[in-house]
């Protein structure tokens, strides 16, 4: 019997057992009935018939009262189920933001029914989410939104603001750090966050304020600016947060 054919004969319960054996073998080299019982939260008596069945299907080596190990076919089948579990739980947790425990439970429930093709698409989606910067931003925005108790309507403001900022960045607005001594510009956005942004705002660097670059310290050192009768210096990273329109 081929591995695929064998696993198609597997009930969900048996697949779960196979998965547990796989994990135990991976962690401890061999699996024992009592370990399996403990991991699955069942009595040892329930484990034994399942082991017999799996051994019949050629998926495990079962030496009674000794140890249990996977056959090559068994390992292949186990990996398939295990991978599905991982992909699903990652999707629930990292993309949807479901808490870990629930994510694991849902993954356990769904892993048996997910088709190979469906799995492919899901894997590709997850890869995309990890690699594409737009996707990262999108995911971050989604997670911010879920933090708010009120739901999508309330966070539309945050979204709008963020997309405006992103739009501005996409339009590639220069920052103070990009200007040259003698240049003047009008502040468009004060980006960044935390203590640094608050200090910039407190010092009077608000949108619509006109600034002039006096000088820049060599080798990426601080920037010296002039505005509204005051003069300030900022480090480059601070200057980069102040986006301007020339």
């Amino acid at each position: 019997m081929t591995a695929t054919a064998a696993s198609e004969n597997l009930t969900n319960a048996l697949e779960d057992y196979l998965e547990t054996v796989f994990e135990l073998v991976r962690d401890r080299k061999v699996a024992r009935v009592k370990d399996i019982a403990k991991a699955r939260g069942v009595r040892a008596g329930s484990v034994t018939p399942a082991m017999h069945r799996l051994a019949e299907l050629g998926l495990i080596e079962y030496v009674e009262r000794e140890y249990i190990d996977l056959t090559p076919a068994g390992e292949k089948a186990a990996r398939r189920v295990y991978a599905r579990h991982q992909v699903l739980s990652r999707f629930f947790q990292h993309v949807l933001g479901t808490p870990e425990e629930t994510a694991q439970e849902d993954a356990c429930a769904m892993e048996h029914s997910l088709s190979d093709e469906g799995m492919d698409h899901l894997v590709r989606f997850l890869e995309f989410m990890q690699v594409c910067p737009d996707a990262q931003a999108f995911l971050a925005a989604f997670h911010d939104c879920t933090r708010l108790t009120k739901g999508p309507d309330a966070c539309s403001g945050t979204c709008q603001r963020r997309s405006r900022r992103r739009g501005m960045r996409a339009a590639k607005l220069p920052s103070i750090a990009d200007l040259r001594p003698g240049q003047r510009a009008r502040i468009a956005i004060v980006d960044g966050g935390g203590a640094i942004r608050q200090r910039l705002l407190d010092m009077g660097l608000l949108p619509d304020v006109q600034v002039e670059i006096q000088r820049m310290a060599p080798a990426g050192g601080p920037v010296w600016i002039k505005f509204e009768g005051t003069q300030l210096t900022l480090r480059r990273n601070e200057a980069r947060a102040v986006l301007v329109e020339t």
Partner: protein, 722 residues
């Protein structure tokens, strides 16, 4: 007689607004300076009398706003919210009104009873600015005065305004912050009524909650259901504002503050300052901060300060040395010659010797702080920070770290004290902790003793140079390490105000200088005195029971002769046991005494630790002495080797040392002395400036462990390769 009523006044304002001058002008010499517990922020209090009443003045840390980000802002905020001030004087820089008045708005929101003081009024007037002061008073509804702090002008009016504010406190502030913001704040305040938050500070708390300030959110969580409701309302208002205005809440609120201030100034400012008001200052800057000239000018200025400190300070230092010496002899003379009185020894060697050794540096300290005060008050410090920040920042330090660190090459104590100008606590701590690694002046005698002992003439200068370099390199590395570990944290803003160049007044500069000098002296009088006595005790007692040299004299192996001691003869000769002068005999006795004393035992106890460095108990004893003050190391070595009154130029001492230790051991000793165990004065100052023993001990222990490690590593590697 009934006590005069005491009123408490807090003084708030931006940094660089001349707040200290006004404080000094109000309180004169009646002030004291300390630290807020556990932080490096300075706490300054003073008092003055007016019209029969006493006023206690608290100088709050200079801040640009009352947000909770930096320790300075938190302290100012806490004082305003929970302190007991009857009046809060907000000091505005008349040449920088917008920013100063934004702070005023925030202070008003805390429910304070205000007085507005427009300082630097002379400069603003020279720049062409004209204000309608009376209109400002009418619009604000509380006293407003104009002052020139550093000249002491307007102080009478200020005192009067404060008294007036005490007598008739201001009503609710007349702030116009826009309907949207006011509505939101009203709603939050309405719910705050159900909590235990004090009525007078509710406006401010509402504002902070709207801004999602962690400190106040936590506070609300302690208020049970009422608090939860408040948080819900605050969150709702915040989201609503952000959605409808397309601005984030921080920008919105700050924008409303500036909106009010701009509106107020439009009414009140009848003539705006000229565009070219800072032309002269800008002109100076174009040279001083020039891309090419900037650094050389900076280095020249540093050198000038150094020179002034150590060259000009030579003569007064020599006087003080002579004076203490004379004092020592005079006291000593009260006892018959050769007396072994412990009291005499305590007074002369312990107290006068110990304390004198620190006080003798006073001229240097005073001159150094004079120089630094001038640099600071002219505004040059900010320019210097601008120039060097790039390099400093790379190592996790701050542009303003540079000058204190350079100062440390003279002496760590003023260096550590000079970090007071640094705003950010973490930067300041990092600088203070690594400062002792700048090889200080007191270590120079050690280098001058050890280097010629072990190294041929052509190697001496490079070795000295390398010691200094190791110190600097290690300091920078440790700073980097600290910033990544123990002192890790969100980087504080570097955003720094650059005031126009100002001519410092002699009075302000001298006051600053005297204050620092006074602090230094007080340290000498307290902790150092205690430790001097302790050091004296453990190096003097117990004395030896019998002396080998006496046994030798009795056995006829040694004869006593008159004449100079072996150390005074040249070329250097090994002391002949057969013929010894009384001086030499006394020296041998002294050596035996030292060995028998507590310090001697400690030194012997250290020997197992010192052996892997190629050293022994004699060095151990000297190291213990060096804890009192580094230059004591040399004197102690002299005593141990029975050279009596030796100093670093004593050839015989050098020769004796060269005999006992290898060059590798010598260099490892130098590394140890460079890095480890900062002198007790440093520990004492560190304690004071950092606000707690924790940092002082962390520094002392940490540096000792590192010093040991480096010396050990060096010596063992040298054994492998040489």
């Amino acid at each position: 007689m009934t006590a005069a009523p005491v009123h408490r006044v807090a003084l708030a304002g931006n940094p660089n607004s001349g707040k200290t001058s006004v404080f000094n002008a109000l309180t004169g010499a009646r002030q004291r300076v300390g630290n807020y517990p556990g932080v490096t922020v300075e706490k300054r209090e003073g008092r003055f009398t007016f019209n029969g009443s006493q006023f206690e003045l608290l100088d709050l840390p200079g801040t640009y706003s009352l947000s909770s980000y930096s320790p300075e802002e938190r302290i100012a905020q806490d004082e305003l919210l929970y302190g007991t001030s009857d009046v809060v004087v907000v000091l505005a820089d008349a040449t920088n009104l917008k920013r100063s008045l934004v702070l005023l708005v925030q202070v008003l929101q805390t429910g304070a009873n205000p007085v507005l003081c427009l300082n630097m009024a002379d400069e603003a007037e020279r720049a062409g600015q004209r204000l309608d002061l009376q209109l400002l008073r009418d619009l604000l509804g509380f006293p407003v005065v104009a002052t020139v702090g550093h000249k002491g002008e307007g102080m009478g009016a200020l005192r009067e305004a404060i008294a007036q504010a005490v007598a008739t406190p201001a009503g609710a502030p007349r702030l116009v912050l826009g309907e949207r913001l006011q509505r939101s704040l009203d709603r939050i305040e309405a719910v705050l009524e159900e909590t235990r938050i004090n009525l007078s500070i509710r406006r401010w708390v509402a504002t902070r909650l709207l801004l999602d300030d962690d400190q106040f959110v936590s506070r609300m969580k302690e208020e049970g259901d009422a608090g939860a409701e408040v948080l819900r309302v605050a969150e709702y208002e915040r989201d609503d504002i952000e959605a409808s205005t397309n601005e984030d809440i921080e920008l919105f609120v700050t924008g409303r503050y500036y909106g009010f201030v701009n509106g107020l100034l439009r009414e009140v400012v009848t003539r705006v300052a000229r565009e070219d008001a800072r032309a002269l200052s800008d002109g100076i800057d174009s040279i001083v901060v020039h891309r090419v000239l900037g650094m050389p000018i900076f280095l020249a200025v540093m050198y000038a300060i150094f020179w002034m400190t150590f060259s000009l300070g030579e003569t007064p230092m020599a006087w003080l040395e002579a004076g203490f010496s004379w004092l020592g002899s005079a006291i000593s003379g009260l006892w018959p010659a050769g007396s072994e009185s412990p009291v005499r020894s305590l007074l002369v060697n312990g107290i006068i010797g110990g304390v004198g050794g620190v006080v003798v540096f006073l001229p240097n300290i005073v001159l150094l702080f004079l120089g630094l005060a001038i640099l600071e008050d002219t505004g040059y410090m900010a320019r210097a920070a601008f120039i060097v920040d790039r390099v400093m920042h790379w190592f996790g330090l701050h542009g303003r770290s540079f000058i204190p660190m350079v100062t440390g090459f003279g002496c760590s104590i003023p260096g550590i004290m000079a970090t007071r100008t640094m705003e950010n606590e973490r930067d300041r701590l990092a600088t203070m902790l690594v400062l002792p690694l700048m090889s200080c002046g007191a270590r120079l005698p050690i280098w001058l003793l050890l280097i010629p002992a072990f190294f041929a003439p052509k190697w001496r200068a490079p070795v000295l140079w390398s010691i200094y370099l190791v110190g600097i390199a290690l300091a920078l590395l440790l700073a980097l390490l600290l910033r990544k570990t123990v002192l890790k944290g969100e980087e504080a803003p570097f955003v720094m105000d650059l005031p126009p160049y100002r001519l410092p007044t002699a009075r302000a500069v001298v006051m600053k200088m005297l204050e620092r000098a006074g602090l230094y002296l007080r340290k000498a009088g307290t902790v150092i005195l205690g430790i001097s006595i302790l050091m004296w005790f453990i190096t003097s007692y117990p004395k030896a029971n019998q002396y080998d040299v006496d046994a030798q004299i009795a056995a006829g192996e040694v004869t006593v002769v008159e004449g100079r001691s072996a150390t005074e003869m040249d070329p250097p000769a090994t002391p002949e046991p057969a013929r010894s002068t009384p001086g030499e005999i006394a020296a041998q006795r002294a050596a035996a005494d030292l060995r028998a004393s507590v310090a001697g035992h400690l030194g012997e106890g250290l020997e197992p630790l010192l052996r892997p460095l190629g050293l022994d108990w004699k060095v151990g004893v000297a190291i213990i002495g060096a804890f009192a003050a580094k230059e004591v190391f040399v004197a102690q070595m002299g005593i141990v080797y029975a050279m009596g009154d030796a100093n670093e130029t004593t050839e015989t001492l050098r020769a004796a040392i060269a005999r006992d230790y290898s060059p590798a051991a010598g260099f490892s000793l130098m590394l140890f002395l460079l890095i480890a165990a900062p002198c007790m004065a440093t520990v004492a100052v560190m304690r004071r400036e950092s606000g707690s023993w924790k940092w002082a001990l962390f520094q002392a222990v940490g540096l000792t462990v590192i010093g040991y490690g480096v010396a050990l590593g060096f010596y063992q590697s040298a054994q492998l390769f040489l």
